[in-house]
């Protein structure tokens, strides 16, 4: 969604073309991200001729401030949906930055890894908005990601296993 998409596209801006094909996954309720992504990829294809990307939508796992119990149900539904998608894409690397949408995808990837089907490296970058506290996605994925990146020093102190590179968006 919105800010997350803008941030993730900035993260992608300096990546080489070795990071290809790029598969974007976002919430079905998201109206704006598709346009931003297409615009980004359009500019990219002007520099890199063989640029490849795909777009997929999954059900939104959780609305802002949705209750705990109903969140578990909607997240389970999103996992059921994202499992076949992740299986189909078999990513080598998953890059996510915090919308609830990323949790089912990462859980699906972890399951595929446990089953010996495909092991993906999971890199999570917490939003620049998070200075002192982690988002809910961050709190969950801090324990399940391979690399957890924070953008402010306070978070690095609180979450010692995280990586601090300064502001990267």
């Amino acid at each position: 969604t919105g800010g997350h998409t803008t941030e993730i596209l900035r993260l992608l801006s300096c990546l080489s073309e070795s990071y290809s094909p790029r598969h974007y996954i976002f919430a079905d309720s998201d109206k704006m991200s598709e346009a931003k992504i297409r615009s980004f990829e359009q500019k990219r294809s002007e520099t890199f001729s063989n640029s490849q990307f795909t777009l997929d939508r999954i059900p939104r796992s959780r609305e802002v401030r949705q209750s705990w119990t109903s969140s578990v149900v909607t997240t389970l539904y999103s996992i059921l949906y994202s499992l076949p998608l992740t299986y189909k894409l078999k990513p080598d690397l998953i890059l996510c930055n915090g919308p609830g949408t990323c949790v089912p995808v990462c859980i699906s990837a972890l399951l595929l890894g446990l089953l010996g089907i495909k092991r993906a490296i999971i890199v999570y970058v917490e939003s620049i908005c998070r200075v002192e506290t982690l988002s809910l996605s961050g709190k969950i994925l801090y324990h399940f990601s391979d690399y957890f990146i924070v953008q402010w020093p306070d978070l690095k102190k609180k979450y010692p296993k995280s990586v601090y590179l300064g502001r990267i968006v």
Binding site: T6, L11, S18, L93, Q151, V163
Partner: protein, 104 residues
């Protein structure tokens, strides 16, 4: 401004921006190099939105006030005390990721 598509044009023309503490608004304004006064409405905001505004204030990039002190702030503000906001460095992320993945 009832839901304009983009405020980018207005932002470029502005001399001073007064905004709520939404991250997108704050960061876009600072990146455009415009002086910013952030008005904090604690009744409306969820706590995590405050974090960024407070940090930006601590670092001297924005002025902060609440609805009732806005006029006073406008009267007594000294915008020259605001520090420029350096851009983020996605190239550092790219370097890190290349190492992680094994592209050197």
């Amino acid at each position: 401004f009832r839901f304009k598509d983009s405020l980018a044009e207005d932002l470029r023309k502005a001399d001073l921006v007064i905004s709520h503490a939404g991250a997108g608004s704050c960061l876009e304004t600072l990146e455009e190099g415009k002086p910013l006064i952030v008005v904090i409405n604690e009744k409306l905001m969820n706590n995590h939105q405050l974090e960024l505004a407070q940090q930006l204030h601590r670092d001297g990039h924005v002025l902060c006030c609440n609805c009732s002190t806005l006029v006073e702030t406008l009267r007594s503000m000294d915008l020259s005390t605001l520090k420029p906001f350096p851009p983020g460095q996605p190239e550092k992320f790219a370097l890190f990721l290349d190492k992680v993945v094994g592209f050197q």
